[in-house]
């Protein structure tokens, strides 16, 4: 095997017979520090890699209008009003708010889904036919006419209070997407509703008061 003799091997300056052969140095290099560094860099790049690309949630708002014919009509029977309070509290009522606030109820973000689903079911169950909508669906080439129109009267009105956070707002909009609510609106909260919420939040909440 060809090899290059190291010039400065032990006793390299002595020449002639009896010269000690230059010690063969190992060509192996200790790779441990290099590998250490390599893995350090790998860890760094793995951690800094942007893995989660953000997505976007569409939001379409209606045009502001005072003209009566342009305003969206909603039937009281199919309306569900959801109000967002502070500390992730959710309040809701079906139809119109009773003057004494009897149908004003409190729930959480976990509970609101069932309420939306149940309300939607009851609206679909009480569907008796809507000629205008069915005609429109037929013209649009929809196959399942009843599916397209049965929840036509179902409207969710979202009323966030000043105490609600942006997360609450997005969560409730998300709930609309999750439960396939086709018609929903974001509306400014009324004073009567705000009073009911502050009364609930100010006093002990009925659901959390322990029994004496």
């Amino acid at each position: 095997m060809a090899s290059i003799e190291g010039g400065d091997g032990g006793g390299g300056h002595k020449k002639g017979p009896g010269v000690k052969k230059a010690k063969k140095l190992s060509t192996r290099v200790d790779m441990t520090p290099m590998v250490d560094l390599g893995f350090l860099l790998i860890t760094f790049f793995i951690f800094t890699a942007t893995l989660s690309t953000p997505s976007t949630l569409d939001l379409n708002m209606p045009k502001d209008t005072n003209k009566d014919e342009e305003q969206t009509k909603a039937k009281q029977s199919g309306a569900l009003t959801i109000m967002l309070g502070k500390n992730n509290n959710v309040y809701y009522y079906e139809g119109e708010l009773a003057p004494d606030g009897a149908n004003f109820k409190q729930t959480t973000f976990k509970g609101i889904r069932d309420i939306i689903i149940n309300k939607k079911k009851s609206v679909i169950a009480s569907y008796t036919g809507n000629a205008a909508c069915e005609d429109k669906a037929r013209k649009a080439g929809k196959t399942d006419i009843k599916y397209e129109c049965a929840d036509e009267d179902f409207v969710v009105v979202i009323k966030p209070t000043e105490e609600a956070t942006y997360k609450n707002t997005v969560d409730i909009l998300d709930e609309m997407a999750i439960n396939n609510v086709k018609r929903f609106a974001m509306v400014k909260i009324a004073d009567s509703e705000r009073e009911l919420i502050s009364a609930t939040e100010g006093g002990p909440a009925p659901a959390t008061t322990p029994a004496p």
């Binding site: 290099m34 390599g38 790049f45 949630l57 708002m61 956070t165 609450n168």
Partner: protein, 219 residues
């Protein structure tokens, strides 16, 4: 006496393939990594089930931070876009009498995010870039309906981008309060813009929900 000698095997293992793989991975990650652009304002967005991807071309990004302060920034990489962005500030300079110098106007397109009222804009733009990136800004006033300056920003952006359709991105922090978001939406509506994109993280549709069923049946 004959004795059985066990061959002493070296405990050294050949690390070469291991190192090869390590460096292969390293080069992969170096090449595949796209660094996050530095965020002047830290925002933690909520999650949504939406699966639409974020588009940033010709966009106006409205950021709401955790103190409900509102910032605006304009997206554009090409020189033509930069010229349009400069057009926004030139128009605002004359319509709102900001009294900006040409240098301050030129500084505008390199400012990552704007979160000052018009009164403080001159001071912000006169600073060097490094300060502009780091300085804590008070936020654009939006809550007062009579003095909602975001309306002006969006109005001028619309004019400057002319025919191009602008995308309105709203990036809100989890804990920001609703009134700030409402004010942002209202200032967009005042400008006859009714379609927005809320930037969110991603999460799956809850199992068994209507959306989940719909997505599965489409597949």
């Amino acid at each position: 006496m004959p004795s059985v000698k066990l061959a002493r095997k070296s405990t050294d293992t050949d690390m070469t393939p291991f190192v090869d793989i390590a460096f292969l991975l390293l080069s992969f990650f170096i090449m595949a990594t796209k660094f996050k652009p530095p965020e002047p304002v830290k925002v933690e967005t909520p999650n949504s089930v939406s699966s639409e991807k974020l588009k940033t071309e010709n966009s106006v990004l409205i950021t709401i931070d955790n103190e409900s302060k509102v910032y605006v920034s304009f997206g554009g990489k090409t020189d033509a876009d930069k010229a349009k962005i400069t057009g926004i500030i030139t128009a605002l300079n004359s319509s709102r009498n900001l009294g900006l110098t040409p240098q301050e106007i030129a500084n505008f397109s390199s400012t990552p995010i704007i979160g000052v009222p018009f009164a403080g804009l001159k001071d912000l733009l006169s600073r060097p870039l490094q300060e502009r990136e780091k300085i804590k800004q008070p936020g654009i006033p939006v809550l007062d309906t009579l003095n909602n300056e975001l309306i002006w920003w969006i109005g001028e952006a619309k004019k400057a981008f002319g025919g191009t359709k602008l995308i309105y991105l709203v990036k809100g922090d989890n804990v920001s309060k609703y009134p700030a978001f409402e004010a942002v939406i209202n200032s967009l509506r005042k400008n006859e813009e009714f379609k927005y994109f809320l930037i969110t993280g991603q999460e799956g549709a809850p199992a068994g929900s209507e959306l989940d069923v719909m997505r599965k049946s489409n597949r």
